[in-house]
């Protein structure tokens, strides 16, 4: 026991000393460069101080970010299965991924599904909640906390177990509620069946795209669901992705908070002036609120999209006890993790991560290019 404490102590002290030493070293290098360029003494001292203080971050970045990035780039061109050393294979991993791996294609399609449906759903619900909370109603603080709580709770095992129980198709809370309402109201029953029809057709279509076989899609669209039907959340591959979208919507608290801040920053005079001019509530929302919160929407869009493309925990925890249907909701990051840690294919996993990085970069680039057309930064 004492030995392990001593070991920890030595490493802690060593780490602190390393940080100090590397900071001083980086400061000295900066100072030498400035001197070599003919900078004044004050300039040299400023360079020393600036780089020495920035050094802990720079060194951390080099060790924990840059070095792994370079290593993973190298590994992506190798076959690397521990404990064997990496073997250079050129672009073979990339070729296999893009041309000969139907599972990767399926993971890409799933991820695209979550971006296409999960992200807009998150944005809409977050905005809706923010608008409601901005009405200065009674219990605003309680609701604000309640809606933000999922973000704090995260996706820990207890939370996800609760979701697993709620999603149980037979007697879970959600389906019990849906059955009860469905029996009480014919209209609700019809709406529920319409929702099931649309959802299953959509998901069958995506499964068809993944497998190249549209038999299930044709079968699904050919029949309207029977009166007793309920969603088969974690039970059917036609519902697993929908369950994850619901989970995404449930955890939209941080987006809601960003929207709330943006809504609070809109000067009330704008609404007053519009009201005097006879604008309806809808017109005020459409013409004033939406444009003025567009920077928040843009931020939520970028951050949310990156988060969804990098999504891992939701399918991993929610469906790990349903291995047969789990593969219907594999995301690219899940696939990356599976290749690297389950199958020990580190080189292949690295190649997936670089393709993922490229996808995020390209989409983000185009979003930034397009923001001029719809994001309103100027309040004047």
């Amino acid at each position: 026991m004492l030995e392990s404490y001593g070991y920890t102590l030595v490493w802690s002290v060593g780490t602190v000393v390393f940080i100090i030493a590397s900071s001083v070293a980086l400061g000295w290098i900066a100072r030498l460069i400035v001197r070599w360029r003919g900078g004044s003494t004050i300039h040299q001292q400023n360079a020393f101080a600036g780089y020495a203080f920035a050094a802990p971050w720079i060194v951390g970045f080099v060790i924990f970010v840059l070095a792994p990035v370079v290593a993973s780039l190298y590994w992506s061109f190798t076959v690397y299965r521990l404990p064997n050393p990496p073997q250079w294979v050129g672009v073979q991993n990339y070729v296999r991924l893009l041309t000969d791996d139907p599972n990767f294609r399926a993971a890409l399609v799933n991820t695209f599904y979550f971006v296409l449906f999960g992200l807009p759903a998150q944005l809409v619900v977050a905005l809706l909640l923010a608008i409601l909370l901005n009405q200065k109603l009674h219990g605003e603080r309680f609701f604000r906390t309640a809606f933000y709580l999922p973000v704090i709770l995260g996706l820990n095992a207890a939370v996800l177990l609760s979701w697993v129980l709620m999603f149980n198709a037979n007697n879970g809370f959600i389906n019990t509620l849906l059955r009860t309402l469905s029996k009480k109201s014919t209209l609700f029953n019809l709406l529920l069946r319409a929702f099931i029809y649309v959802n299953e057709s959509l998901n069958a279509f995506f499964l068809g795209v993944q497998s190249g076989n549209f038999t299930l899609f044709e079968k699904t669209i050919s029949a309207f669901p029977a009166a007793h039907r309920v969603p088969l959340w974690l039970q059917s591959p036609l519902w697993t992705k929908t369950s994850i979208v619901l989970l995404l919507v449930w955890s939209c608290g941080s987006m809601m908070l960003i929207y709330l801040a943006a809504l609070n920053s809109i000067p009330p005079e704008f609404y007053e002036a519009a009201e005097v001019d006879g604008a309806t509530r809808w017109q005020r929302f459409w013409k004033i609120t939406l444009p003025l919160i567009s920077p928040a929407t843009f931020y939520n869009l970028i951050v949310g999209m990156i988060a969804i493309i990098q999504m891992f925990e939701q399918p991993y925890v929610l469906l790990r006890d349903s291995p047969t249907v789990a593969q219907s909701s594999y995301t690219v990051v899940f696939y990356l993790w599976r290749a690297t840690f389950r199958f020990n294919e580190i080189g292949y996993g690295a190649a997936i991560s670089w393709i993922l990085t490229l996808i995020i970069l390209v989409i983000t680039y185009f979003q930034f290019r397009l923001q001029d057309r719809w994001v309103q930064y100027d309040l004047r």
Binding site: V13, G14, N103, N175, L232, T324, Q327, F341, R342
Partner: protein, 468 residues
């Protein structure tokens, strides 16, 4: 002023580096002792010279026994019942072990089957982790090369108790002629049915053939309001268990691999077994819109939500439950009309404990395995699971007294086949799960499914260098 400051910094750095250097001297804090120097030398040649490594480990063990060094063993357990097995291991096994080995501490890491693969892969990737790992029946081919050879600790000469272990269970843990672990749980899988519920639907005995099984599944199933209230038959999942598929192929006389090592999913047995599973599933779930049974809070046989189940006694009522008077057994299903030679197969799972080659405490880990592998400990441990101790002299108490254990034991002896030699298990499992799911949900037909399994698994075995 600045120079003094830098000098102080240099001194601190030198001190820290000196401290680090002292530690990396290895397990030896006093390098002057020749025995410890030898240990560290052997560690460097570990990967190339396993035999020498073992010798030095034995020497290390001698040093340990003499009280020179305190060792902490980390044991990763996946077969456990929360608040039962863990309590027994920590409160009874470890203190008893430490009476004999006061210098060895034991810590347990509990994981589940869903995360076993990545946990173990993580250990091997890092070259560091638990000293003892709990593996499943089919894992020897995947990890055999990366596990410490244990003949010198657990072989007949070193430990005569090993003769008591059932030979089939030792086969499960043997790789390249060496023991790589110790079996600690034997769980046969068979069909168990509630006789009273069978009688309700007009069956006197559990089904034993494919047509009977389909008929029983259909008759025993109750669906209300689009949801299952009772299933004629349950297995793991929704009658899509990949392990049962393998059992059915075997029972028809088929094999997973051809003589040249290629997969045999183009065989008629593989085809008919899968077609049967589809038909039986449709007997329980007429279509894929039926909501599954509620979450189980105990045995489905006990709560009456299933008429029959295929599995081990783990998912059945406790072995001393009076309900066993109403439960009857069947070793498995056959298809005598199409395969006259078919014979039921009771799949036997032998879970085991192994010592990874990266462990620095192989001798101590082997000592713990021997202790845990005593007849008394194995009997006590397996009692909670309703499984069999893998050594014969541990078959006392509940094994002799409980009726289901006697029946299962007889079935295992007559129809048992070890669930072993499943090549590239992790990938194979995913292939089967993916393709079976696609077939059962009508996304693809039988031919496509079998063709996909055959080609994907062939590719996996080729990538792994197991076939040309």
């Amino acid at each position: 002023m600045r120079i003094r400051w830098l000098a102080t910094l240099f001194l601190i750095l030198a001190l820290a580096l000196a401290a680090c250097g002292g530690d990396t001297g290895g397990e030896s804090s006093q390098p002057s002792e020749p025995q410890q120097e030898q240990t560290s030398q052997t560690a460097e040649t570990k990967s190339e010279e396993p035999a020498e490594e073992s010798t030095s480990q034995q020497e290390e063990s001698t040093a340990t026994e003499s009280g020179a060094e305190k060792v902490t063993l980390r044991v990763m357990v996946v077969d456990y019942i929360k608040d039962k097995t863990d309590v027994w291991l920590e409160n009874e096994v470890v203190p008893a072990f430490q009476k004999e080995h006061p210098n060895i501490d034991v810590e347990f890491i509990y994981v589940n089957w869903g995360t076993l693969d990545e946990t173990v892969q993580g250990y091997f990737a890092a070259g560091e982790g638990a000293d003892i790992i709990n593996l499943g029946s089919e894992y020897i081919a995947a990890y055999g090369d990366r596990l410490a050879p244990l003949n010198e600790y657990l072989g007949e000469e070193a430990w005569p108790d090993i003769k008591q272990f059932v030979p089939a269970s030792l086969d499960t843990v043997t790789w390249k002629g060496e023991l790589r672990g110790l079996p600690w749980l034997t769980a046969p899988r068979a069909y168990m049915c509630r006789s009273d519920l069978l009688a309700e639907i007009g069956f006197e005995q559990p089904p034993s053939t494919f047509p009977e099984a389909i008929e029983e599944a259909r008759a025993g199933t109750i669906i209300e309001d689009g949801a299952l209230k009772r299933a004629g038959i349950v297995t793991t999942g929704r009658l899509d268990d990949w392990q049962e598929y393998i059992a059915l192929i075997w029972s028809l006389g088929g094999e997973l691999y051809k003589e040249n090592g290629e997969p045999a999913f183009d065989s008629p047995q593989a085809r008919d077994a899968l077609a049967f599973m589809y038909e039986r599933r449709r007997a329980v779930y007429p279509d894929e819109t039926i909501a599954d049974l509620p979450e189980a809070t105990g045995s489905r046989l006990a709560d009456g939500t299933a008429v029959c189940m295929w599995g081990n006694l783990w998912g059945a009522p406790p072995v001393d439950d009076p309900l066993w008077e109403q439960i009857s057994f069947s070793p498995g299903l056959t298809d005598p009309d199409n395969y006259p030679e078919s014979r039921p197969v009771v799949q036997v799972f032998n879970d085991w404990l192994a010592v990874p080659a990266y462990s620095k405490n192989v001798p101590e880990a082997a000592e713990f395995l021997k202790f845990l592998g005593s007849a008394e400990n194995l009997n006590r441990y397996n009692k909670d699971f309703g499984s069999f101790p893998p050594r014969r002299d541990a078959w006392f108490g509940y094994v002799e007294e409980a009726k289901p254990m006697q029946i299962m034991g007889d079935l295992m002896n007559e129809y048992g086949r070890g669930f072993a030699d499943i090549r590239e298990t992790a990938k194979f499992r995913e292939i089967l799960q993916r393709e079976m799911s696609a077939y059962f949900t009508d996304l693809q037909d039988l031919d496509t499914t079998l063709s996909n399994i055959q080609s994907a698994y062939t590719q996996v075995l080729q990538d792994a260098g197991m076939i040309q």
